[in-house]
């Protein structure tokens, strides 16, 4: 197990290193010299050159890459070109919106999907199962930002239950802040819940067909005991994988959803930075998101090995 974990960790770190190089290279292609952008149209060549020197822009490409990389390892993401504040500060301000939003949607999606999955699996083939599975097909086809628009129309504009957009800030109290995240989280969660419910159902149906389930029934356990004590634990292996994948997807999805609700999160930061050519901010946010995805994949891999030791031996 330890060997397996170390090997996966090594692969994850290599992936992260390669990913950071790709992001750096991609941003390098972008037209526009940051020094020129910061100083404006009328700046003298001399001023531009001295700023380039100050920012290290005149150094060779790979030197800049390594200083950027080592900076990030120590929590220094550089300074924003337009706001002239550390990028790390900008990210810290925004993360308190995006991360709770992603976590809240993951919680909502799980809370909706798992009971539905169990319910439909236990009523497989009956009308309730067919109807709910039809509904999940519809759920998968929903673009989350369209669902968000509809939710705004119904709950914010027509019923006036929640704010249509903006973020109250955590200092206004947990409930007020959560209320402004509720609609976006729901819009993100519903299509994901549809996928998760289908996977829970199919995994549970497959597990219920196993021999050990027949044995458990044969020894006289009640259907509930069989379901909760034997089937669920084993059926959750694929569910955990999808949960990991979904968290990465939700984190990325916040970027679009934040635009519907005017939430000051990482997504808004990325779009503002793209239009202002504030590349160093874009780089920082994307690296952080990619690192999160790689970390989650690593944790999912390790949790596999814990649930099913055979997997660690195989690879």
């Amino acid at each position: 197990m330890a060997n397996y974990a170390i090997r996966r960790l090594f692969i994850s770190l290599m992936t992260l290193l390669a990913a950071s190089a790709v992001i750096f290279a991609l941003i390098e292609i972008l037209p526009g010299d940051p020094a020129r952008i910061m100083l404006g149209m009328n700046a003298s060549e001399e001023a531009i050159r001295s700023l380039q020197e100050q920012m290290g822009l005149n150094q060779p490409l790979f030197m800049r890459y390594f200083s950027w990389l080592f900076g990030m390892l120590t929590g220094d993401f550089g300074r924003s070109y337009t706001y002239a504040v550390p990028v790390a500060d900008l990210i810290r301000e925004r993360v308190v919106v995006s991360l709770p939003l992603a976590v809240l949607s993951l919680v909502l999606s799980t809370a909706i999907a798992i009971p539905i999955g169990i319910f439909t699996a236990s009523r497989r083939g009956r009308p309730a199962d067919t109807a709910i599975m039809g509904a999940t097909q519809l759920g998968i086809a929903l673009p989350n930002f369209w669902l968000a628009l509809l939710l705004v129309y119904v709950f914010a504009i027509s019923l006036r239950l929640v704010p249509a957009g903006g973020f109250a800030g955590w200092e206004t109290g947990t409930w007020t802040a959560l209320k402004s995240l509720l609609l976006p989280a729901f819009a993100l969660a519903l299509p994901q819940a549809a996928i998760l419910a289908r996977i829970t159902r199919s995994s549970l149906i497959e597990t219920l067909a196993e021999d050990y389930i027949r044995t458990a029934r044969a020894k006289g356990l009640s259907p509930a005991q069989v379901l909760y004590r034997h089937a669920l634990r084993n059926a959750f292996i694929p569910v955990v994988t999808i949960l990991g994948l979904q968290f990465a997807f939700l984190l990325a999805g916040t970027i679009i959803i934040e635009n519907v609700f005017y939430l000051p999160g990482l997504g808004r930061l990325v779009f503002q930075s793209i239009t202002q050519r504030d590349l160093i901010v874009v780089e920082g946010v994307v690296v952080l998101l990619v690192a999160t995805v790689i970390l989650i994949n690593f944790l999912v891999d390790c949790s596999y090995a814990l649930i099913d030791p055979r997997l660690a031996a195989d690879r």
Partner: protein, 274 residues
């Protein structure tokens, strides 16, 4: 294939929806109720009526006409992105399964690298770097189809290689490359069709997302995502502006998913029990 009569209901429903969407897109080339980009301020923000079945937008443009023309963009972008994924991903997957060893490892690590990027974020980055527009949206979505097809092809091909008919082919003196072309590829192609349907529907959603944040198809070319962006500020006064383009996306994606599910069930009866 068991023929139409035996095909699952969702396959039929999916195919029907796909036909309707496809024919609507084709129809938009020769006829739309109104010119899709014709501005008519006098009749702006009208709710659905007999004259404008889906109402009009804030410029008085006919929403039905825009939805019809918008379907072309969505379909074209998604198909092109799937073509990129198949064109590059399938050969990679076949090669990895044929050679195994170092090439296999290297290609799969490269795949892991692309998978580490949340697709949407990278698509946003790519369109931000190379400029917004339909072509760059195709490239951005297409790049993420490559590892999907490579992985699916490799997995399926690996299960074909140990079969007896491969051994038989080898004993007749065929090279590995010939076997890949003659036996492996034909036997994985049905699986790739299912994957292509899934990626097609994901491509429709991705294109809409990119257009919605202003990085996809640019105005005045109508696109469903862009229409939803315009609808956002009008949601209080003209909800129909949001409802119809959204319904078009949902219907198309639903049709593709049902079709793909049904297709998989017909090709792999074991999966239908799930």
């Amino acid at each position: 294939m068991n023929g139409w009569r035996k095909s699952p209901a969702r396959f039929k429903i999916g195919l029907l929806i796909m036909l309707v969407v496809g024919l609507t897109a084709l129809c938009s080339f020769v006829w739309t109720p109104y010119p899709p980009t014709a501005i008519d301020i006098a009749s702006k923000l009208q709710p659905p009526s007999m004259r404008h079945w889906m109402g009009t937008d804030h410029f008085g443009r006919d929403i039905l006409s825009m939805v019809m023309v918008g379907s072309r963009t969505s379909i074209a972008v998604a198909i092109a992105a799937v073509a990129i994924g198949i064109g590059i991903g399938v050969p990679i997957g076949l090669l990895a399964a044929e050679r195994r060893g170092l090439i296999d490892d290297a290609l799969m690590r490269l795949n892991d690298l692309i998978f580490a990027f949340p697709a949407l974020i990278s698509a946003i980055m790519i369109t931000a770097v190379f400029g917004p527009g339909a072509l760059n949206a195709i490239i951005a979505i297409g790049i993420f189809n490559i590892p999907v097809f490579a992985r699916a092809t490799r997995g399926a091909a690996l299960s074909i290689w140990p079969r007896e008919y491969i051994l038989a082919a080898r004993s007749t003196g065929k090279s590995d490359r010939r076997i890949t072309f003659d036996h492996v590829f034909p036997n994985v192609s049905h699986l790739l069709m299912v994957q292509a349907t899934i990626q097609f529907s994901l491509g429709i959603l991705a294109e809409a997302s990119l257009a919605y944040v202003g990085l996809g198809t640019q105005p005045p070319m109508p696109s469903w995502g862009r229409m939803l962006f315009d609808a956002q500020t009008m949601i209080g006064v003209a909800p129909h502006m949001a409802i119809f383009p959204g319904l078009a996306i949902v219907a198309t994606v639903l049709g593709l998913n049902l079709f793909g599910d049904g297709l998989r069930d017909m090709l792999d009866p074991r999966a239908s029990s799930r």
